[in-house]
Symmetry: C2
Subunit: 318 residues, 2 copies
């Protein structure tokens, strides 16, 4: 056994989060790193200012399928997932880089339509592609880095007991769409469309920052799992009031059709790119935000005071 | 035939640079983009300052091989190729993001040693990893984005007739090392090592910027090919004086052993991450830079006044 306990184990053994924890121990720090890895985006100082930055790596067959999504959809979703990370810091993205790997037999038109979709989504916040790299690879790879301005970055670690927990954006639709497509169905359309092209509430991130949000993240792993990241980073307990959660009609339909609890899509479904944030109890919530729970002393995330017994968040390598 | 001429063609048909040209037509612009795609790095303004950014996508089997390079080597080279792009703008990298894809059976220790090598190389300029993403994939993928400060970014487009062309760093060694390994040999060591772990002259980029370099790029595709990028961007002709080029001893050895002209490794060999820049004729070159040619009115790159007849730069998809 080596000191770091990695002797002989594979990435499949320890999983994505296990690997990330071990990698983090290898990484140094400099005066430019105002916020490092472990949040939705890093916050970096320049000689004359600062910016926030986040990166995502998307692989065909794991993050998207050409038979489920058009090239335009894939481009929009690749952009959205990264723009959402900047949004979750309370920032506005301005510039993105794209590394693109593809097999030689990929139609040029697919690549161009993907880029068009990417730029369309970026257009929702006024950002653009500023650089990239192209290489041959066996399957399609899209590596995105988004950078932007965040005058007051909102971290995951600022929640305190007594704060109110609130969401902005749809929960559960994208996960219900994924479940629908996985079973070979193509409707309800609202769910399938939400899986193909998410609609992050881009105005809500900077709005929450201005309103003094104490912690914030986007829903990529699932509401319970992502609130878990805030609970750990902030050293608090969080309780969700399930009666405050809205179950979209399409999610109810999918739940019924597949014999699954609709509330589980809302509590555990990933890739919605809605925002969840905590706010001080006084002063009220900004418009468009819905109160769904509260922060207390302690640790862990509960639903109606109980440990959540539904499916856990998505894990790669499993 | 569609308007963009891509009807029915594949990426293999048009190649990496053809795809990049067509992609560029899809991309918009905003006030934050001071320098966009097409240079070694983009230059982006923030609300309060600016930074430079560049990205690379490395795929196992195409950019590195686990039987040729250690995990540490792969990490160092992945960092070096990106730090070099910031260097080639006259900047100093401060922060990098890494997207990492790997099969589930990859030993954790390989991933950690890759990160250690990456951080070691970053340490040469004081930069660190500030964020990343991990996903499962069939082969190893390393997507790197480097960001840094460049008080006076040096573009490819500023060379003017009468300027002096100069290089800083070794030419040809990495390409000779690649040729050596491709034939199943493991020596000469100087060449093989240069392929495994390049040594970009990190101090030379900012030095050239301070000295007023008019144009600059790093040698990734090969000296003639990369000077071609400067010639096109600047709208000038460039002539290389081959008698001024130093042929490293190991390159001469490899040329002899493989029956190839040693000078071709120097003129066309990629991945050396040396710098080539143009400077005004008056004022002399900064220390460490070697004059290898000059800029004239016209177009194209020549060697001793003749069109270069050696191998052309590396192309993916071919």
């Amino acid at each position: 056994m080596t000191a770091n306990g990695s002797n002989g184990s594979t990435i499949g053994d320890i999983g994505e989060f296990g690997l990330i924890d071990q990698v983090r121990e290898q990484i140094g720090h400099n005066r430019h790193i105002l916020i490092g890895s472990g949040d939705d985006a890093a916050h970096i100082s320049t000689n004359d200012g600062s910016y926030v930055v986040s990166t995502d790596l998307l692989v065909e067959g794991r993050h998207f399928r050409r038979d489920w999504s058009t090239a335009n959809d894939v481009g929009r979703k690749a952009a959205a997932s990264n723009l959402s990370d900047i949004n979750a810091m309370g920032g506005v993205a301005t510039a993105l880089t794209v590394g693109f790997g593809a097999p030689a037999d990929l139609p040029v038109e697919w690549a161009l339509e993907m880029v068009r979709g990417f730029e369309q989504e970026c257009g929702r916040v006024g950002a653009h592609i500023v650089g990239g790299d192209v290489t041959a690879s066996d399957s399609i790879i899209i590596a995105v880095t988004a950078m932007g301005d965040a005058p007051r970055p909102v971290r995951r670690s600022g929640a305190v007991a007594g704060d109110v927990v609130a969401v902005n954006g749809d929960l559960g639709l994208a996960a219900a769409g994924f479940a629908t497509l996985s079973r070979g169905f193509r409707s309800p359309k609202a769910a399938v469309e939400a899986h193909r092209v998410p609609h992050p509430p881009y105005a809500a991130g900077p709005q929450a920052a201005r309103a003094g949000a104490t912690a914030m993240t986007d829903i990529s792993d699932g509401l319970v799992a992502d609130l878990g990241h805030i609970a750990v980073a902030s050293g608090v307990a969080i309780d969700i009031d399930s009666s405050a959660l809205v179950i979209p009609e399409a999610v109810a339909t999918v739940g019924e059709a597949l014999g699954r609890r609709a509330i589980d899509f809302v509590l555990a479904g990933g890739d919605s790119y809605a925002l969840v944030a905590t706010f001080g109890a006084e002063g009220g919530l900004p418009p468009g935000w819905t109160r769904i729970g509260e922060v207390a002393e302690g640790a862990g995330v509960t639903v109606d005071g109980e440990v959540y017994d539904g499916p856990t968040g998505h894990q790669h390598f499993r």
